[in-house]
Symmetry: C2
Subunit: 201 residues, 2 copies
């Protein structure tokens, strides 16, 4: 069974998080969410000043399955690492050096990394080399000098899968299902979700 | 500012809940989620045997904004009542006589009621008269004798708005935005969500 680690922080876009997690679970992927605390610049290291749940970007509070630990997040433990968007949550994740290190390690070890919306900023902060990617339009200016910037709903570039926003979260999640579990599983999962004719399935 | 009450229970489909809540918040609608405890048949009345969060149908745990109380859920307090799907959560809601009463009261007082997926079973349990509606295909057989059953992604029938599943949750939520806040607000909200060309916007 494939395994996915999906990061969660205060300010995470809760639709992007939920659509990715739920759709992967429907495909039989074992999903673990991990809460990443915001770095407090007045302290030497990140501390759990946050409450024990993530406050989503539009106010939905989600309890994480676990608390982020670099040692428990390695590419030998998971097949996929997901960095969702939401400006504040994506900033917390992309500015974390342990997460930057994990992004590089996952790709080096041929494991999948998914980034959606402002989550794509982690490609920049992790120092990935020039490759095709996409993101939310609001962070395009930061990314287009360093990457081959595309505006497709989902961009698959080797093991890096990027996407644009809540409106592309279903094709993003279904693409991850297809890459981890195959085309048939994608169709099997999409059917009962009842997409309007001509979209995503 | 328009106000929406969005019900939440153990087994609620977390994408349908989250997409509706988040999209309405983006439109400036004040959203309150209310946790509906499952009825324990061994007790005379529903009790809070549940933990203080809702376990979604695919395992995402969501903290509600409030606990459901019929007195705090009346149509003079909200413009919209939403009943999301997820088989188990929808069963809890649709079999609750206070919720059945509220569904009738909202419609009688010309307030909106949204039902998606198995949530449409509440139209049946509330004893609504024959009218056009839709639902998840899995509960079509229970509904088609009593209603004018349609297979459109979203069906607006007076103040009752019904939809089919996670795959139609965005058009469902955007239709509710349009009905509460107008066509321009719908377009303003849909833009930054970055739907693929040709879908929903």
């Amino acid at each position: 069974m494939a395994k996915a680690l999906i990061l969660l922080a205060d300010g995470t876009e809760e639709m992007e998080f939920t659509i990715t997690y739920d759709t992967l679970v429907r495909a039989g992927v074992s999903c673990t969410s991990a809460f990443v605390p915001a770095h407090d610049p007045t302290k030497e290291t990140s501390t759990f000043t946050n409450p024990p749940f993530a406050k989503g970007s539009r106010g939905i509070n989600i309890l994480p399955d676990s608390y982020f630990s670099p040692q428990e997040s390695t590419p030998d433990m998971y097949d996929l690492l997901v960095i969702p968007g939401g400006a504040k949550g994506a900033k917390t994740m992309s500015s974390s050096s342990p997460i930057q290190h994990l992004v590089r390690e996952y790709l080096q070890q041929d494991k999948f990394v998914g980034m959606i919306c402002a989550g794509s900023l982690a490609a920049l902060s992790s120092g990935l080399s020039k490759r095709p990617l996409t993101s939310h339009p609001s962070v395009k200016a930061q990314l287009e000098k360093h990457f081959e910037y595309l505006e497709d709903p989902v961009v698959v570039s080797g093991k890096l899968v990027t996407s644009r926003g809540p409106g592309t979260a279903f094709p993003f999640a279904l693409t991850l299902v297809e890459l981890l579990c195959g085309k048939e599983k994608r169709a099997e999962v999409a059917g009962p979700m009842v997409f309007p004719p001509g979209t995503f399935a």
